[in-house]
């Protein structure tokens, strides 16, 4: 399938897209929920432009695609950091009531996802790569440029921090 996609076969390209878009989108949404759609589009265009030069099996393709995704993510974060930020008026001042309620609903429904914000960027990245990209410890280690032991430590700490963060949420929910 990969070889035929590299030759430009439309059906194989579609099959690869359908197979790999969900994990890619989850990975990006895990780290940048608001920008996941645009970042995924950028990653897919890069993959499409360079697919003919790729060498390797499906497993290597997965690692390669997430390497591209990770780079796009880093680029996006750098450009966001460079961007000038000006103070804006508060939401209540500028947004109508329905927009405010929509925003509030979205934040509330996403409360579990907010728990992920307690993770450091490295921890979130390792958890995302392990969880949604289905990559092994060694693959993640080579992708992020760390040793496998460092990756294990990162994921362990991430789990502990998540557990510590989610505990008040759950106890609040039980009391409520």
């Amino acid at each position: 399938m990969l070889a035929r996609a590299q030759e430009g076969c439309a059906e194989s390209v579609a099959a690869i897209y359908r197979a790999f878009h969900p994990p890619l989108f989850r990975f990006l949404r895990f780290q940048e929920p608001a920008e996941a759609e645009d970042l995924a589009a950028t990653v897919w265009m890069t993959v499409a432009r360079t697919l003919s030069g790729f060498e390797g099996d499906e497993r290597a393709f997965r690692a390669w695609m997430f390497t591209i995704a990770r780079r796009r993510l880093v680029d996006f974060r750098r450009s966001r950091a460079r961007r000038q930020t000006a103070p804006m008026a508060s939401l209540e001042e500028v947004a109508p009531a329905d927009v405010r309620s929509f925003e509030t609903d979205m934040v509330e429904s996403d409360s579990l996802r907010r728990a992920l914000e307690c993770l450091s960027p490295s921890q979130a990245e390792v958890v995302a790569l392990r969880l949604v990209c289905d990559l092994s410890v060694d693959e993640v280690a080579s992708l992020v440029g760390r040793t496998p032991e460092a990756v294990r430590q990162l994921q362990h700490r991430a789990l502990r921090r998540l557990a510590a963060t989610l505990r008040p949420f759950s106890s609040e929910a039980v009391t409520a």
């Binding site: 390209v13 432009r49 003919s52 969880l131 502990r160 998540l162 557990a163």
Partner: protein
């Protein structure tokens, strides 16, 4: 100190295998170790979160893949032709260059032959139409062809013992209308070679300003303008008196 540090660390301990399964979302909340049920639930939810695959992007992606395949094959064929140095234009140029070279050679060859004949007729020679190419690398160094001269017996014996003399000289007749004879090696001058074959009076040597001294010992003049080369071969004879 954060509230995560307030937690009992013993409760938070995880072995590698459990941590590995947890982080892959492979542990159900009920099966999770104490304190990790919420984590297991969250990670499982994130893992199984539905993602809508938008097929409207497929056409654009396929077009991008196909255009990259086309440009890649084009560039690879171009680089291959660059490596071999044969583009379509250069393929057409090669035969033209060959034909042009042959035509130039055909034009130049008679002229060159005539010039060579004129030079040979005007130049000195003891045997008409004969040039003796020295056996060693003298010709390569731009020296004029040397005639076999009747050297003194002492010198001749020394010359015959040198390795250069072991090579046979090659006689090539030029300057006459006679057909070119195949290159035939002539025997190197030895003791038995007749000295009369080259009259000494016909030998025209550049006169040396230290004439007598150099003629006495038969060696090239050390004070002359032209220093003797290391592989000049047998020394030249001065004019006999």
């Amino acid at each position: 100190m954060t509230h995560s540090d307030d937690w009992n660390d013993d409760m938070m301990l995880l072995d590698h295998d459990t941590a590995d399964r947890l982080v892959r979302g492979a542990v159900a909340p009920d099966d999770a170790p104490p304190g990790y049920a919420e984590v297991a639930g969250l990670l499982g939810e994130l893992r199984d979160e539905p993602v809508v695959v938008d097929d409207s992007r497929l056409a654009e992606l396929t077009a991008a893949v196909q255009s990259s395949v086309t440009s890649r094959s084009r560039s690879s064929s171009l680089s291959r032709s660059r490596l071999t140095g044969r583009t379509g234009r250069s393929r057409r140029r090669v035969p033209a260059a060959i034909v042009g070279g042959v035509a130039i050679a055909m034009l130049v060859a008679p002229v060159a032959a005539r010039i060579a004949r004129d030079i040979d007729l005007s130049g000195p020679s003891e045997a008409p139409g004969t040039v003796v190419t020295p056996p060693s690398g003298a010709v390569e160094k731009g020296e004029p062809p040397r005639r076999p001269a009747a050297a003194p017996a002492k010198q001749r014996s020394r010359a015959a013992s040198t390795p250069a003399a072991d090579h046979a000289a090659v006689t090539v007749p030029v300057g006459s209308d006679a057909p070119l004879a195949p290159l035939t090696p002539t025997p190197a001058p030895t003791e038995a070679a007749p000295a009369e074959s080259t009259p000494a009076s016909e030998v025209t040597e550049p006169t040396c300003e230290h004439g007598e001294a150099s003629a006495k010992d038969g060696r090239p003049c050390p004070g002359g303008k032209r220093p003797p080369a290391a592989d000049d071969g047998p020394p030249r004879r001065g004019p006999e008196r």
